[in-house]
């Protein structure tokens, strides 16, 4: 997980410091994934999805965690090995927490076949793992460490890392959109909605995105978003929306929402979910920094 440096620089963290960090991780994991742990469509997706799709989901989450731990962790100096180790730890914690929660909720029992148990745990564990990562990085109260990256921070202000910011936008979009993506409501809205309303939704998404990123003085907006002139604002908003739509489409595909529906309904679902994804890609991205 994105760790803070030990108080004694360069040495191991003490055991109690590690436990504190895992505690934050567990709390964050539960906080961010609770809506999905309590959603029946997610349990169903767990045993309906083909094993290949689940494996792809695990790999995609791992890549997402690598990116998040690399760019959003408090230690920007962390090497790739360390980032990879942290990501594996988060996935592991995700599996354990998801299994425990599902067991306590009575979603997995001893009479079930292995594939039903495994499917449900795997699908829930991925959201928990992302929550663990975000929780460890964001829920810490230890502010004194921030001095360490003070130099790097001021450098970061002058040049905004495009790739890193796009990746964080993608993380935020996924985290937000995943909460509503598996529900039946998205399909229902998409089937019933008129094309004029769809255009309205797309327009509102773009507007919300640009307001949050450029005009609402969100925490971190000044630091991480360029608002030089109208041109950068327009380009920035469109990129954010594109990232949001991509994330929305990916999650919908994973939950099998494109199977057996027309292209129009698929597109409508992406735009409907895109509203949530845009909130994640803009506000979420700033909060995840």
């Amino acid at each position: 997980m994105p760790r803070r440096k030990s108080k004694k620089n360069g040495t191991c963290r003490s055991v109690s410091e590690s436990f504190q960090e895992y505690g934050r991780g567990v709390a964050g994991g539960l906080m961010f994934s609770l809506p999905l742990l309590y959603t029946m469509e997610v349990w169903w997706a767990g045993f309906n999805a083909h094993p290949w799709r689940l494996a792809a989901y695990v790999l995609a989450t791992f890549v997402l965690l690598l990116g998040y731990n690399r760019y959003a962790g408090l230690r920007h100096d962390a090497g790739m090995t360390e980032v990879a180790i942290d990501s594996v730890e988060e996935l592991g914690l995700g599996f354990i927490i998801a299994a425990l929660a599902l067991f306590l909720l009575g979603r997995i029992t001893t009479e079930m076949p292995v594939n039903e148990i495994a499917g449900q745990i795997v699908i829930e564990a991925m959201t928990v793992a992302i929550g663990v990562s975000v929780g460890t990085a964001q829920l810490g109260g230890d502010k004194e460490d921030e001095g360490i990256e003070g130099d790097g921070g001021s450098k970061g202000q002058s040049e905004i890392h495009f790739g890193g910011q796009t990746l964080l936008a993608f993380c935020g979009a996924t985290l937000f959109a995943a909460n509503v993506a598996p529900t039946e409501e998205i399909v229902m809205i998409a089937i019933e909605i008129s094309w004029l309303r769809l255009i309205g939704l797309a327009f509102v998404s773009l507007l919300i995105g640009s307001l949050i990123l450029h005009y609402s003085e969100f925490t971190g907006a000044r630091e991480f978003v360029r608002t030089d002139n109208l041109n950068t604002v327009v380009v920035g908003s469109i990129i954010t929306y594109a990232v949001a739509l991509f994330a929305a489409a990916l999650i919908l595909w994973f939950f099998g929402r494109f199977d057996g529906v027309s292209l129009y309904t698929s597109l409508a679902q992406v735009i409907v979910l895109g509203v949530a994804a845009t909130l994640g890609a803009s506000a979420g991205r700033l909060l995840l920094q």
Partner: protein
């Protein structure tokens, strides 16, 4: 690259995490390779009827031997009467039956089914 400074707790969590991730992925790959694409194939078994205070119940066990989940399964259990009258029907609906899973339920009758001949069949189900 900075030196890896980890204590035993962190190495333990990492080791457990690695084992879980690797085993989950190998399990999924194994499943993906060995799994066929047979549509759901449902087997219905009836248990011994029992008398309850207000009615008679017949335990029903359904197993899906196929490779796909069956959704919204309707099962009909009919009781042939000795007198050649219309058979009495009981029905049971099961929301989801994942591949290789088993679900149990009951069908109820007003008349005593213990002496009669019971027949069970799956009326239909959807793809998820």
């Amino acid at each position: 690259m900075s030196k890896l400074a980890k204590n035993w707790v962190e190495w333990t969590v990492f080791a457990v995490g690695l084992v879980l991730v690797v085993s989950a992925l190998s399990y999924l790959v194994y499943e993906g390779v060995t799994m066929g694409s047979d549509p759901p194939s449902l087997e219905v078994r009836l248990g011994a009827p029992e008398q309850r205070t207000h009615n008679f119940i017949v335990p029903v066990t359904v197993t899906n031997h196929g490779d796909e989940t069956a959704e919204g399964i309707t099962i009909e259990v009919s009781m042939e009467n000795a007198g050649g009258q219309e058979p009495v029907r009981g029905e049971l609906t099961i929301a989801f039956l994942p591949r290789r899973a088993t679900r149990e339920g009951f069908v109820t009758f007003d008349q005593d089914p213990r002496a009669a001949q019971l027949k069970a069949r799956v009326l239909g189900y959807e793809k998820p």
